[in-house]
Symmetry: C2
């Protein structure tokens, strides 16, 4: 029972997202004015206020949109592919997703908005990561599971940030190889 959204609204959201990303590449989030966003998006300022409270509100909506995209890609893959190695599969989807939207992710990370990203990554990856770690020595030790997953996800994000900021330091394939070595597999 999803309500149909007016095409004009869809379009307005899109140009607002794009304008925000463009501007975040160029300058600090703090320094971006709502009038800047509207100017780049080619919409009226009153239209902005019809949709969002402020620029932070817009940023959150944009990131939420990103998360939904990733979730769809993961879901689709789960239906098509019935691979056994969930975690590596997950990493591949994630890395491709980030690579395709590199500009967007770069803008977010450059502006130090990564806390939000880590939260959504925890959300999205938890099950696959646990499937990887299951029956592992570390999990069998008495460390709480949520600590373990937070630890490895923190590591993944940390390297991911580095990769996004320095595109040509290593390839996607190398990245997957690194994660595969750094995150303990089942025994």
């Amino acid at each position: 029972m999803k309500e149909k959204i007016d095409l004009r609204v869809v379009k307005t959201n899109k140009v607002l997202f794009n304008a925000l990303i463009t501007l975040m590449e160029q300058k600090d989030f703090e320094k971006i004015k709502i009038s800047d966003i509207c100017e780049v998006a080619l919409i009226n300022r009153s239209t902005f206020y019809a949709h969002y409270e402020d620029k932070y509100d817009l940023l959150l909506a944009m990131i939420d949109n990103l998360k939904q995209n990733l979730e769809n890609e993961l879901k689709q893959n789960k239906e098509e592919n019935i691979s056994k190695n969930y975690f590596i599969e997950f990493l591949k989807i994630l890395i491709n997703h980030v690579d395709e939207k590199r500009t967007t992710y770069y803008s977010i990370l450059k502006n130090d908005k990564n806390g939000i990203l880590i939260d959504f990554l925890i959300d999205v990856s938890n099950r696959d990561l646990i499937s990887r770690l299951k029956n592992n020595n570390i999990v069998k030790s008495n460390i709480p599971l949520d600590i373990i997953t937070k630890f490895y996800l923190g590591g993944i994000v940390s390297i991911g940030i580095d990769w996004i900021k320095n595109k040509d330091k290593y390839t996607k394939e190398e990245l997957i190889l690194y994660f595969d070595k750094l995150i303990p597999d089942k025994i």
Copy 2:
């Protein structure tokens, strides 16, 4: 040859740092007005502008001050203690430092300013972490060393954030134990 700083300036900085922390506990950094800061700090707004360009400038100065404190504590410990296990020693200092300034760190992390923290942690911990990992299987694999350190530091920060946000979930001692198990030691 360190220049003497006017006592009034020292005092002004201190009240500004405190005011910023207080406000960051209460609301989003984005929503904090310079006039708010001055009101809490009990200083004139023109005095603020005599020292800082904007609130972000103030935040950076505050975090830089924090980093200097930690570096001093580490340095002092290195002179007094001649323990062999540098990494565990480092963790102890770090955790105590964060614990003592928990409010401050909480404010920073709550406001998603952790990118800055990770950078300074990389700065501050690199040598001790490498001493831990040296002669380890992972380091002997062909993963670049900076990738490995970023990975583990990301993990440490990720858990650290969790610990700061949920004080009573586990003790400092447990925290050190977790890190000790999660980060591979020498062979």
